[in-house]
Every structure is written in structure tokens, then in C-alpha cells.
């Protein structure tokens, strides 16, 4: 059995963050996450430890991952190996000559997404902004415009809740929790939205993708006001906002899980179905937002959204 992380994260050299409603104490500095004050008993501990090339007794094996009991092993070749245990610990071994800051975007993205699945949390591939104290989520496949639309809305003064990974809880009112990180935008998006002045460091040195600090961000979970699934406006789909039929609405969250394959593997389908039913049946709603994936359309899209928020009672026009 591999050694896990030490249980006492009291070192002063540790970094503290809050992601998807969980407190995090990390040996690695995680650029792109917004730092928080340390807590005495963090929910998740991240440490640098040797991670073996395979795990013992793997019950399931994929091209880049293995699962055994409460352990989840992931390898990103040439970058790092990760061992997640019980949804509480993440051990990281950096591979080759990769620097630790190159590992950080994977850790706070895909690895943390797996951890949320491991904890049986609902994790959506979604960005989100705050509108009048409510969370408005944008989910969809990579490239559907999640970050672009949220970045454009933060430009209008709506605080950012999440850039790519949105944790949902259902105790009482459905709540969305901040992913605690900066926007990550491609050069094309930065130019398309005129955000050049806010361009921060590159997410990885080899990528033309940069951190961009939103003007304002939410620091705690908020009740969900609406969920939009983003789709490209290509025939026969026309641009605009519409409510999906009941079957599509029920399946919408599961299809937009952070990693749908893990939902199936961890037997969480019913949870996502229930979450979709609760959100669709509450004062909030689940909608399609179909747009032409063209920066020129962004002002129109923001206009549709603000009109729609007035229509569904969010009335969130920023002042």
C-alpha cells in the first residue's frame, strides 16, 4: 500500500484554498486558485509523494487511470501521476522535468473533478456567475462557450462563481459552490472580448491560454437561479433561449457532469437525475441557450440573458 498524505496539515508552508465548497490545504502552490485563510481541519489535503506507476488490486483500468477500492490513480504522461484516496487526499508525483506550476492546472481541474465524483458530490462541467444573490450556471462541452459567456458577464459586473467546474449540493435548496479560481481564457477569447488589459500569466507555458482575474467573485455557495446548457446555433437549431422537453431536462445535468463516464462508474446516475428534477421543478429552471459561437454575437447573447432573467424573476440587471 502506498503511503498517503500526512494527516496534520499544519506546516506554515502550506497553501489554503476553497474549491467547490471544500477547504483545501496543499503543499503545492496552485496558481490560478484564489487563496483563503488556513482552516484547522481541511476537507482535502494535497501533498507531493511518490506515486507508483500502477496500483495494486485495480478493479478497473482505463488508458490513463486505475481504480482500487477508495483509491483512484491518474497519470498524465510526462506531467504527473496522482493518487486520490477516499476523496480526502491527493498525492502528486511530478514526472520528468515538469515544473510543479505546470501540474497545477490539471490538479485544480480534472483531478479535483475526480475527487468530487469520489466524494459522490454532483460536479458539473459548468461556469457560473452570481445574479442578484443567485447562481446562474452555463454548462456544455469544451468549446461551447462556458468561460466566454461568464467572462463577458463578469465584464458587466456579475461576480464569477465558477470557470469550469461547479459543485452542486442538494440539502434543502440546490446550491452551487465556487471553484475558487481565476478565469482561464484563450488568446482568441481575450481578444474577442477586449480583455487584453486583464491578461495574467499563461495557464501553461506552452499554451496561449491565460489566467484573467474577474472584477469580482463569489466566495460562498449560492442558491441556483437557472441552469443553461450551451449549444451551437447550427441548423436546424435556431439561436435563442428555450426550455427543453421534460426528458431532456431530466438528463441534462447527467450529460453535463464534469466527467459523465465517472457518473456511470460510481453509480451516481440517480443523483444527477434527482438534482435535475429538483432544479427544474424549483423556482429556478433548466434551459437551452443556443448561440452562434461568435464573439460578435456576445452583446446579443447577454441581452437575451438579462431579458430572460427579468422574465423568470431573477431580474439581475447589473447597475
Amino acid at each position: 500500500m502506498q503511503r498517503g498524505c500526512p494527516s496534520a496539515p499544519a506546516d506554515p508552508g502550506r497553501h489554503s484554498y476553497s474549491v467547490a465548497g471544500l477547504s483545501l490545504s496543499s503543499e503545492l502552490e496552485l496558481p490560478g486558485l484564489i487563496g483563503t485563510a488556513p482552516v484547522s481541519a481541511p476537507d482535502v489535503v494535497i501533498c507531493q509523494r511518490p506515486v507508483l506507476p500502477v496500483i495494486e488490486d485495480a478493479a478497473a483500468v482505463g488508458p490513463t487511470w486505475q481504480i482500487a477500492g477508495d483509491r483512484f490513480w491518474l497519470r498524465i504522461p510526462g506531467i504527473a501521476r496522482f493518487l486520490l484516496t477516499g476523496g480526502r487526499e491527493i498525492a502528486v508525483e511530478v514526472e520528468g522535468g515538469t515544473s510543479a506550476d505546470e501540474v497545477a492546472p490539471f490538479l485544480v481541474g480534472t483531478v479535483f473533478g475526480i475527487l468530487l465524483h469520489q466524494r459522490n458530490h454532483i460536479a458539473l462541467h459548468a461556469s457560473a456567475v452570481e445574479v442578484n444573490g443567485k447562481a446562474v450556471l452555463f454548462c456544455g462541452a469544451s468549446g461551447a462557450g462556458k468561460s466566454t459567456i461568464s467572462a463577458a458577464l463578469t465584464g458587466r459586473g456579475y461576480p464569477l462563481i465558477a470557470d469550469d467546474l461547479c459543485g452542486i449540493t442538494l440539502a434543502g435548496t440546490p446550491m452551487a459552490h465556487p471553484d475558487g479560481r481565476l478565469l482561464r481564457l484563450w488568446e482568441q477569447t481575450i481578444e474577442g472580448l477586449g480583455l487584453g488589459a486583464s491578461r495574467g500569466a499563461p495557464v501553461r507555458r506552452r499554451l496561449q491560454k491565460y489566467y484573467v482575474e474577474p472584477g469580482n467573485w463569489a466566495t460562498s455557495g449560492l442558491p441556483i437561479g437557472a441552469v443553461y446548457a450551451l449549444r451551437e446555433a447550427r441548423p436546424p437549431r435556431l439561436p435563442g433561449i428555450e426550455r427543453p422537453n421534460a426528458i431532456d431536462a431530466a438528463l441534462l445535468l447527467r450529460r453535463n457532469a464534469y466527467r459523465p463516464m465517472l457518473v456511470a462508474r460510481t453509480g451516481q446516475r440517480a443523483e444527477y437525475f434527482k438534482a435535475a428534477a429538483v432544479i427544474a421543478g424549483s423556482a429556478a429552471g433548466v434551459f437551452y441557450l443556443t448561440w452562434p459561437l461568435d464573439f460578435a454575437a456576445i452583446p446579443d447573447v447577454l441581452g437575451w440573458l438579462e431579458d430572460h432573467w427579468a422574465e423568470i424573476g431573477l431580474r439581475g440587471r447589473a447597475t
Partner: protein, 300 residues
């Protein structure tokens, strides 16, 4: 299901073959909706399966890092099809040339990625016209693309293309890469033959793929996939795989072989033939500019 690649250079009839396959068992005995092709078809360069099955965000990787991981992905996807309950055939469209990953493995995982490949080819002079229409560029630009050994789709580095980067190589290199690889058996379909005798050529391709089909089913699929019907569907409802509106053209444009004769200029024809003469000869596409060269040669 076993996986069979539908491999072609772009604009060579891949979509038409997919529509024909989909029309083998059309629901309600009506022509299949081109915007709703069935689930036993997929796309090798789709981004979602990469992110979902490898659990890695492809948007954080360079194109080369993605290529290193693609053999493992295609092997995994093919195994999932084999392990499924259905023992039919899964068709996967692919425009990538048959290349090796940076580590020297077949990008598409060789025999572990698919059991067979149907390779569809088309006269590059017709492709030039179709490609220009599809990409909203001048024919000259399309010819330069056909001749470019570094041609690729979705290769941008300053944004996130919807699909994974696909290295196409030049047209000749693309066709050669598929026909000369020895990892998986191939069956060659010429677009021109598919146009001239659709039922026979389609039936042969199905036999190769291991899909049983009666003569009646093939005849119905051919009827339901008639080019005029596809054009009508695109005119009435649009086609989700058509070029984006700002790029211009329709997807189902002319659907016939030899259109280049009245649409390409002699200089354009010569530029294509000069670059691709050998592969064109191998596939039976007779050059039009040879006689002039031969005369020049004789006079010299």
C-alpha cells in the same frame, strides 16, 4: 460491436456513405434525418470522448500531447464497443491521415483501434472545388491546401477548436497513408464508382465491413440517400455539419463526379495534377494536362 473506420480525405463522400449506412434500417421506413444520424456512428477526432474516457482536459494539452494519448483512447473506445452487448458494426468517421504518434505508435491504435477500414477516395480536382465551397475560400486556396504536406484541420493554437487536431498531410500522402499501412485490412471505395453504381459499390463495402444487408434494404438505402433528397433536407432544415453561415456554401453542393471539367481553369488543373500525378494514376484518375506535357517533351 467491432469498429470499422470510414476513412477519407475531407469532401470525398464520407458523409454520403454514412447517410447510406444510416438508411439501411431507417426508423419508420422514411429517409433518415441528416441532422439525426444514428448512434452507431462516431467521429475519431471528437473532443468529448477524449476528455471523458481519459479524464484529462484536452484544453490543457498541446496538439502533440493529445496525439501521444490518442492511441490509448482509440484502443479504449474500440474495446468498449467490443465489450458492449450489440454484436453489430460501429462505424467511425475519420479524416486524420494514418500517421504515427510522437512516440511512434499508430495514432489510431492500429488493429487495436479498429478491425477494418473503408477508405473512400475522390478525384482531387473535384475535391478542390468542394473544399473551396466548404471552407469559403477561393479555389486557389483549396488547391494549396490539397498540396500542403502540413495541412491540418482544427490546428489552431490560440483558441479551442471543437475537434481534436487532425493532420491530413497532402491529398496524395493522405491516401497513401491509408492504403499503404499494414495494420488493418482496407477496402477502397472510389466516389466516382459509388456515384455510377451506388448499390453494387455500397453492397461490396457492407460485405467487407461485415454488415449483412438484403438487396431490398440496399436498394431502399440508395433511394433514401439520393442526392436530390439530401439537398432538399438541407434546403428545408439546414445541415448541422454544413459550413458555418459566415463561411458561405452549402454541404450537399453538386454531388457528381467530373464537375471540375467545367469549373476549374487549365492552370488550376495542372497544379493539382503536377503534385498528385502518381496517386491519381494509381486510382485511375486520368490527367488532362499530360498531353500538353507529352507534346512539349516530344518537341524538345
Amino acid at each position: 460491436m467491432s469498429t470499422v473506420w470510414l476513412a477519407s480525405y475531407p469532401k470525398s463522400g464520407n458523409t454520403w456513405l454514412r447517410v447510406l449506412i444510416a438508411n439501411l434500417n431507417p426508423p419508420g421506413n422514411l429517409p433518415i434525418d441528416i441532422n439525426n444520424l444514428p448512434v452507431n456512428q462516431s467521429l475519431a477526432s471528437a473532443r468529448e470522448p477524449f476528455d471523458d474516457f481519459l479524464l484529462i482536459d484536452s484544453g490543457l494539452l498541446t496538439h502533440e500531447e493529445i496525439d501521444c494519448l490518442r492511441p490509448g483512447l482509440h484502443e479504449d473506445l474500440a474495446r468498449r464497443e467490443l465489450d458492449g452487448s450489440d454484436d453489430g458494426v460501429h462505424f467511425a468517421k475519420v479524416h486524420d491521415a494514418y500517421t504515427l504518434s510522437p512516440q511512434g505508435e499508430p495514432l489510431l491504435a492500429g488493429a487495436r483501434g479498429a478491425a477494418r477500414a473503408i477508405v473512400i477516395v475522390r478525384d482531387p480536382r473535384d475535391i478542390a472545388l468542394s473544399l473551396a465551397n466548404h471552407r469559403g475560400t477561393a479555389v486557389e486556396g483549396a488547391i494549396a491546401f490539397l498540396n500542403d504536406a502540413k495541412a491540418e484541420f482544427s490546428g489552431e493554437c490560440d483558441g479551442l477548436p471543437r475537434q481534436l487536431r487532425q493532420r491530413l498531410l497532402s491529398w496524395s500522402q493522405h491516401v497513401a497513408s491509408w492504403l499503404e499501412q499494414r495494420d488493418i485490412p482496407t477496402h477502397l471505395v472510389r466516389y466516382e464508382d459509388l456515384t455510377a453504381d451506388t448499390a453494387r459499390v455500397f453492397g461490396d463495402a457492407l460485405s467487407f465491413a461485415g454488415v449483412p444487408a438484403t438487396g431490398d434494404a440496399i436498394e431502399r438505402a440508395v433511394r433514401f440517400s439520393a442526392f436530390a433528397l439530401l439537398q432538399q433536407q438541407e434546403r428545408e432544415a439546414g445541415f448541422c455539419e454544413a459550413p458555418r453561415p459566415f463561411q458561405g456554401g452549402v454541404f450537399f453542393r453538386r454531388g457528381r463526379a467530373g464537375g471540375w471539367r467545367d469549373e476549374l481553369g487549365p492552370g488550376q488543373v495542372a497544379r493539382i495534377e503536377a503534385e498528385h500525378a502518381m496517386m491519381m494514376g494509381r486510382l485511375g484518375y486520368r490527367p488532362a494536362s499530360v498531353r500538353k506535357d507529352a507534346l512539349r517533351g516530344a518537341a524538345a
